[in-house]
Amino acid sequence: MSEPLLKVSDLQVHFDIPNTSRMFAPKQTLKAVDGVSFELNPGETLGIVGESGCGKSTLARAILQLVKPTGGDVQLNGQSLLGLNKQQMREARRQIQVIFQDPLAALNPRMTLLQIIGEPLTVYEKHLSAEQRRARVMKMMERVGLSPNMINRYPHEFSGGQCQRIGIARALILEPKLVICDEPVSALDVSIRAQIVNLLMELQKDMGLALIFIAHDLHIVRHISQRVMVMYLGKAVEIGESEALYLSPKHPYTQALISSVPSMDPDASRANQAILEGDLPSPLNPPSGCAFRTRCKLAQPHCAETAPVLVAHENEGETRLVACHEV
């Protein structure tokens, strides 16, 4: 097996939250991401799904070093991204780019497309003349389906889908190895989503990109990813190959997530749906043992005692990692 492009091991992001209930109370710790490990191969797509507030976006920001991880390690091509100096960090960032959820908010309203898409070039390819930079930007715009004659326009003159294309163009102009997509289609119209997802897949094939694709929409994750990681309260609860995970989810939380997707078939039985009840517990004060036990239909008394770890389950040549005492 080839060397993984990205290796995340036991990554932790904890935030200290001042306790406002009384003066001088000890600080509380919010474990936004708590010991997540995974590997990503070149050209592969990993989907990350989970409820709002389960740490998906924080995980993305920690990989990008936009928030400092409090523990664990992120390695890109075998080189740790933690503890790099500014110059090394800048070089590493060239390999990892990001696409954000809100396409308009991710674009500076005072800059033209030329300035926005060309900005990474001004950082990493200083030798380019203004004319060469402009040509590169126009080529990239055409590649993502934007008419190059709009190069002098401003973001507010575009629709949401077009803005997301601009974001994609900015992320890809340096030809990175890894693009982290933080819910890139959640804010878009359903009819536009497919276009953007297909564009991403097309560009991935052409440029050999690895993608980390964060989403709520399970259909889209299934469509785009080879592997999927399911997160709950800052922890990975199940990692497996996309199709197999959809057809036979093992972790009760994954089962609940998948059965919550509305079915296109009106006659489908709703009898054996696993309905998720209650809200996500507060990450400030997670349940003891298995964090999911408060909402789990399989919960047993011993689930409250020890936290389950990811255990490999082999099944018909597929390896599935599941963190549950009852599977």
């Binding site: 960032r93 990001v98 809100d102 005072r110 004659n149 326009r153 974001g167 900015r170 009819s191 497919a194």
Partner: protein, 304 residues
Amino acid sequence: MSSIIQTDAAPTQIFPEDAEVLKGRSLWDDARNRLLNNKAAVTAMIVLGAIVLLVIFGPLLSPFSYDYPDWDNIYEPPSVGDAHYFGTDSIGRDLFVRTLYGGRVSLMVGVVATIVSLLIGVAYGATAGYLGGRVDNIMMRIVDVLYTVPFMFFVILLMVVFGRHLILIFVAIGAINWLDMARIVRGQTLSLKHREFIEAAEAGGVSTPNIIRRHIVPNLLGVVIVYITLTIPQVILIESFLSFLGLGVQEPLTSWGALVNEGAEDMETAPWSLIFPAVFLAATLFCFNFIGDGLRDALDPKDR
């Protein structure tokens, strides 16, 4: 089940090679159009423009200089015949020329002191806001400490130590005003800092000074421009106040504040020596405030 996704993407568009490059309409263009549709602001700009032109070129229309005492015409009421258009003061100096010279000083103090406070305040506030954390805390506590220095005491101290000089007024007013600017800019920066385009720039490896320069400052400009137009009249008023107390410009040079002060003493015998400078001062302040309001509406239409 996944029919949404299997819809084909829009057919790959073919873009003609020689398509004309379209011109973008920036937020500034929009703002300019909105400002030009605001009658009060346009009128204020015209009046202010006229005042500025008059202040610069007006003295050429009069045969007198601002410090020449016309002993034959003390307390002369306004008259066109002997070229004392606004009359004369208690020692026969021509009030038309003095009002315009006073305007030069007042406007110059307003503009220069505001620019001083702008440069210091924007750089300081944007840095504190963007870096945040401990740096921000220390920088803003310094501002808090400077706020506690009493302004009049500070000015009197400067005058006593260095003597009365026009530059000292710029320094004194600029040194006080940048504190407000720094606070406003810091607040705006804090709200901008967590916008996604800033994170995108960080992830794209853009260096901190470049993020502040390219992403933070241009997005601050709207607020800053509005604040400038409201600061200039404030500074003119502070200068008038200092002159009124006798701490401002040195005779025979004058300012609108100083002229109003002298005029107030002779109000009963020579009302023209109060009316003309007061009208110029008030008109200028009104204009700046109208322009400021117009700019605020134009740059931030959501806030209306």
